[in-house]
Amino acid sequence: MRELALHILDIAENSIAASASLVEIEVATDEKVLTITVTDNGKGMDEEMQKRVAEPWATTRKTRNIGLGLPFWKLAAEMAGGAFSIRSKLGEGTRVKASFLVDCVDRAPMGDLAATIAALMAAENTDFVLRYSRKGEGFVFDTRELKAAGIDVTRPAAIKLIRDMIRENIIITDGGTVL
């Protein structure tokens, strides 16, 4: 995976699979460090699974006995001079945090974060919050607000509209420089 945003999609898909009703994605950048945190209120996992989860042979999928999502994510962070951590509590949820040195040559580009959020929004039983900030500027996007306003965020027309809005806000936040 060549984009951080694709990893974010992959990690958030785990949250959906863990029956989370809310997934919060925080992308925060200061002068030196980019931190991406995915927090869910899904079913969580026990300590034994937490220890093994960043290894390729740990998976809950039934179609194969290999799971590469978290190992790839850990590798992407460590390659870029950052760190990876996972905290989870059975029945309460999981938080996956990865950090990256912004200027490290081995840091993957952010990629299309708006397209990632769009792909997640189609999950009918999960709400998403995106907190995007760069050097103190930023925005918050919350599907619960849209739903409260009567918008069905699983309809293609709505997904397209919201994706384009998020894309525009990211460009404004980043001031035209690519993260």
């Binding site: 694709l6 992959d10 898909e13 299309d112 009567g150 918008i151 309809r155 293609p156 525009e168």
Partner: protein, 122 residues
């Protein structure tokens, strides 16, 4: 910065498309994109977004794009399953953004299954 209020303003203009859950769900055509690690790394996100764009641009009613986990055929990803009410499920494999547009135009709009993209008994 665009806000929820902007979305609301647009919503008023295109009420028909973004309204509350309509009563279509039982008669709805669904396109399901495999969105596990295998699908994502093969390009499922681009396929999902291309399907959404094509449906939105063509203003198609009663058509939804959704996602699923690993379908167990990782090497054939990106995979799109098409459920048209009253018809058998059709599975398309190794889909990309261009193929996604053709699936909408041919299969969803005109009712002609795109046989060349379909899964075969390999």
């Amino acid at each position: 910065m665009k806000t929820i209020a902007d979305i609301m303003a647009i919503k008023e203009k295109m009420q028909r498309e973004i309204i509350l859950r309509d009563n279509l769900s039982e008669n709805e055509t669904r396109l399901v994109v495999g969105m596990a690690t295998c699908g994502i790394s093969a390009g499922a996100r681009a396929v999902f977004n291309a399907l959404v764009d094509e449906i939105a641009v063509r203003n198609l009613k009663g058509v939804k794009v959704t996602r699923s986990g690993c379908l167990g055929m990782c090497k054939l990803e990106p995979i799109v399953e098409v459920y048209v009410p009253g018809q058998e499920k059709i599975t398309y494999i190794r889909v990309d953004a261009e193929k996604a547009k053709k699936i909408i135009a041919s299969h969803i709009v005109n009712g002609n299954v795109v046989e060349e993209y379909m899964i075969t008994n390999e």
